[in-house]
């Protein structure tokens, strides 16, 4: 026994402690508990992985039967294979760093203990999601992280926009979960089990479905779940709004870990997807579309966190593109490197926002590189990493994905390259607007404390060297065989050139000739406005889905069904009783002789009836 249960149980203990007595504890004790638990969890992961050795085959621990009903048998089982190992390290490692950072970032916020209780609870559910050895246990984590996401987006719940964003995230995710649960039902009906081992063993000998069939349906339904959790078209709309939460939350949940759960799930279900090429194609195309669309929106936004949020959506699109073209290892590789540099981008943005006392508008920044040099330095590391400049983290994973895409369909590669250029452009734009030129705001920027930039430095190192040091595809080779054929240098050079081009264009537009960008925007006119307003997708959903439901609920369900039918039944019963009572009340005169008269009349009536009946019978 390796006691895998300790990995999620430690953060759960942190949640239980801070959630119950955290209010009465001093802030230092709350911080200590909150940070110690993920760190201990990380250390336990390291210890477990070192004693489990090479993990060529999956290591499973079975604890107890959770649900037993007829043919359904769900156990609380944890499983570690190489895919899980990668995810565990990312979640606990990045998670610990972000917890540490949050101690500094949240120091002056109300509800300190509540924040860390939720954050620890999130860690628990995320680790359950990753460790679960069947689809239902994974779903427990899946729902749990959704709950924590809801709680943390709505952390500043007195602000209406935050409360609305939290509800939006929750409801949009429910739509995705609907697909996930349907997939589970189909799986159970077909294979009689939800255990990864049993399901995959049953799928493996089945023929590859070249036209839509059962496996395609399961794969697509699972992907519907993934589009919700991992913010893909058409369910990506909640993620940009989720930036209402505190910045460490955006970094941990809405960039590094939770939103990659969908990618992990698709990679975990690789066997199913490999038997459903049609579903793979859908995954690839949705991923690619999302990557392009979100990148174009990211270019136009002025809120620094919104830029990075759309960047996250776009990068998640890349990961699904990788899965869709069959390069699952590349997708997970990008999950890892993206966790490094996107967590860094968000935490760095948080540091900027912290320095400017809550200012998030890029137009109110500028010239900050002298004022907050450490933040600038670490953000530069994330910048080169996401732009795909060799040999930094993003370069390796992005190249793997683009090469795999080229191998699948060359046009996917070209779209990917254009997106890479846009990615480099919008991040550079944010950097230039934030750190170069003249300071346009009116706050007094101050550098963040060590507890904040310490984790940033570690993430910066990971962003620079993590991609080169952690060769995830090689490690995952037993699960996902490496693609044959070497790197084609021309394709690599083109994608790198695209990144450099993006940075160059941004440099020209925002540093050399600062007015040029605005004139281009006004030259594009309507199209720019359309993109700036996020293609009016929110408005479209509002008109097509939200309002019909609201109106239908109001006019039909409320006015007709509730008021008419349900209230009508209740009120009708009362009215009937009152009417009958009104008639009967006349008899209750309170006059005893009156009653006596009625009794007499009644007895006479009984006698008469009896007399007639007896007389008739005779």
């Amino acid at each position: 026994m390796e006691h895998l249960w300790l990995i999620p149980a430690l953060p759960l203990a942190g949640f239980a402690l801070n959630g119950t007595v955290g209010k009465r504890l001093p802030q230092i004790a709350v911080s200590l508990i909150a940070v110690a638990m993920p760190v201990l969890s990380f250390l336990w992961v390291l210890k477990t992985l070192s004693s489990l050795g090479s993990l060529e085959t999956a290591y499973i621990e079975r604890y107890f039967t959770w649900i037993e009903s007829g043919a359904l048998n769900i156990g609380v089982d944890f499983m570690v294979d190489r895919l899980t190992a990668v995810m565990l390290l990312v979640v606990t490692g990045i998670g610990s760093l972000i917890h540490l950072y949050a101690v500094g970032y949240m120091a002056h916020e109300g509800g300190y203990y509540r924040f860390f209780a939720y954050l620890n609870l999130f860690m628990f559910f995320m680790l359950t999601l990753v460790l679960g050895a069947n689809y239902l246990l994974m779903f427990v984590g899946w729902e749990g992280v959704g709950l924590c996401s809801y709680l943390l987006i709505g952390f500043y719940f007195v602000r209406k926009s935050a409360a609305d964003a939290a509800k939006k995230a929750f409801i949009v995710n429910r739509i995705g979960d609907f697909g996930y649960t349907l997939a589970l039902f189909l799986m159970f009906v077909q294979f009689g089990s939800l255990d990864f081992g049993k399901v995959f063993a049953a799928v493996a000998p089945m023929p590859v479905e070249h036209s839509a069939g059962l496996l395609t349906a399961i794969a697509l339904l699972l992907f519907v779940g993934a589009t919700g959790k991992s913010a893909q078209i058409p369910l990506y709309v909640w993620l940009p709004d989720a930036m209402e939460g505190p910045t460490p939350v955006s970094a941990l949940i809405h960039a590094a870990t939770m939103v990659t759960a969908g990618v992990y799930m698709v990679a975990r279900s690789a066997v199913i997807y490999q038997h459903a090429p049609l579903a793979m194609e859908v995954v690839a195309i949705i991923g690619l579309l999302t990557a392009v669309l979100a990148a174009t929106i990211g270019i136009t936004q002025y809120d620094i966190k919104k830029v990075f949020a759309y960047s996250t959506v776009s990068q998640l699109g890349y990961m699904f593109l990788a899965c869709g073209v069959g390069a699952f290892a590349a997708g997970i590789y990008h999950v890892v490197t993206h966790a490094f540099f996107k967590a860094l981008l968000f935490l760095g943005a948080g540091s900027v926002i912290h320095a400017l006392e809550g200012e998030q508008d890029l137009r109110q920044m500028g010239g900050l590189r002298k004022k907050i040099p450490i933040t600038f330095a670490v953000l530069c590391c994330a910048w080169v990493a996401i732009a795909g400049i060799p040999p930094f983290a993003g370069y390796f994973s992005k190249d793997e994905i683009l090469l795999a895409a080229h191998h699948h369909h060359p046009w996917m590669y070209w779209v990917g390259v254009v997106t890479a250029a846009m990615t480099a452009f919008y991040v550079s734009r944010a950097m230039f607007l934030c750190f170069f030129g003249q300071y346009r705001g009116h706050h007094h920027p101050h550098e963040s404390p060590f507890i904040m930039w310490g984790p940033l430095a570690v993430l910066a190192a990971l962003s620079l060297f993590g991609g080169w040091y952690f060769k995830v595809p090689n490690y995952l080779a037993p699960l996902f065989p490496l693609a044959e054929g070497g790197h084609e240098m021309a394709l690599v050079a083109i994608s790198v050139a695209a990144g450099v081009l993006g940075i160059g264009v941004a440099y020209v537009l925002y540093v050399v000739k600062p007015g040029l960008a605005d004139s281009i925007a006004s030259a594009l006119g309507g199209f720019y406005k359309l993109v700036y307003n996020k293609y009016l997708v929110d408005e479209l959903y509002d008109a097509a889905v939200v309002r019909p439901i609201v109106h239908g609920s109001r006019s039909l369900l409320w006015r007709v069904v509730d008021v008419g039918l349900i209230d009508g039944c209740v009120n009708g019963t009362a009215t009937l009783a009152r009417g009958v009572g009104g008639v009967l009340r006349a008899f209750q005169s309170g006059n005893i002789r009156n009653y006596a008269a009625w009794v007499t009349l009644g007895s006479v009536a009984v006698l008469v009836v009896l007399g007639i009946a007896v007389g008739g019978a005779r």
Partner: protein, 103 residues
């Protein structure tokens, strides 16, 4: 009881007494008179019980009438106590004035 008196006479007497009781109960306003009317009705019923019992040579009717007497005695005790209390509190024995439960 001479056997020459037929059963129907007893029953007719019983019915007349019962009818008087009912009439008194419904018509009279004095509580004590109403109360006496109830006693009259009970005794009218007793008379018919005894008559049937004699006619059928069975003891059941006697037993029934004893029960009725016991109940009547109990009822008299309770009823008179109520009447006394009502008179003490209201200084009236008119039955129509004792209707405060209605409101």
């Amino acid at each position: 009881m001479p056997s020459s008196v037929p059963l129907s006479w007893y029953l007719i007497l019983s019915a007349i007494l019962f009818g008087l009781g009912v009439a008194g109960f419904v018509v009279r306003r004095n509580i004590i008179t109403v109360f006496m009317s109830i006693e009259l009705m009970l005794n009218a019923v007793n008379l018919s019980f005894i008559a049937f019992s004699y006619q059928l040579r069975q003891v059941d009717g006697h037993i029934f009438s004893f029960f009725v007497m016991v109940v009547a005695a109990a009822e008299a005790a309770v009823g008179l106590a109520i009447i006394l209390t009502v008179f003490k509190n209201r200084a009236t024995l008119a039955i129509d004035d004792v209707s405060s439960l209605k409101n």
